[in-house]
Amino acid sequence: MVTEDLIVGVIEVGDVEYELLIVEVDEGKVPHDDPFVRVKVFSPRVPDAKWFRFRKDQTVGSAAEHAAREFGYEGGSPTFETPDKSVLDRASTLEAAGVRNHETLELVDAGTGV
């Protein structure tokens, strides 16, 4: 598969990678030069997660905004929270933030109180 031809965004039925996501994928089989990372994202809005494919060099903020739109958000400062409850810096790239292929992330807001 020429992965450069893939597009970022939600991975749904019909996507060439959709079937791969329903099985446990051995991280070692993912090519090191794969420019994409696939993540499972939960939102507090709905019970079910969605799968997304993002570029590793995409910022966390950009990827989270993309995911947020898919969940129906309009506004805010979305970012991702990892399973160990770390809230990722929106300015980091997904790769620099340590996001791994097939990781489960939670959509959270990075806005402030007063």
Binding site: P44, R45, G111, V114
Partner: protein, 160 residues
Amino acid sequence: MTLLPPSASRASIESEWPGALAWATRHGWSLSLAASDLKMRAVTFHPAGGQPLEFTAELDGYRALPPVWRVVGPGTDIEADRANFPSPGASASIFHPNLVLCAPWNRLAYKSVDPRGPHEDWGGPEGWLTQGGTNTFAHTLGEMLSAIDVFLRHSPGMLE
């Protein structure tokens, strides 16, 4: 103040409830809803000290108005005193020393509603869904719980 029939609020709550409940399950919170009196209760533990923490959301008028969020004493409906209210920790937390959750999605954050409310500059609570800027953003009950959870992790303990 906007008047909304309870049936409209119940419909909004019912549509958001599955997402909020799923979020609570994923994050180890306990959530209950008294649909008859439009009140939600959320129970967790302070991540730093392990003390029980309870929040209530009064949902009359929701979503024309944001919920009335309160931190309450464990197992009660009595508003928390400083010993049961999380300290802010982070410099721009929602945990305000006035013992109010300071967020556009809390009706009590508006001074026009409650004198403890820190904000006159947000207009009235009717505009809560259009508040922008860098403020905490939460338009559903699940998102509000998520926001509380995130700010709790910056809190070093209770105010006293």
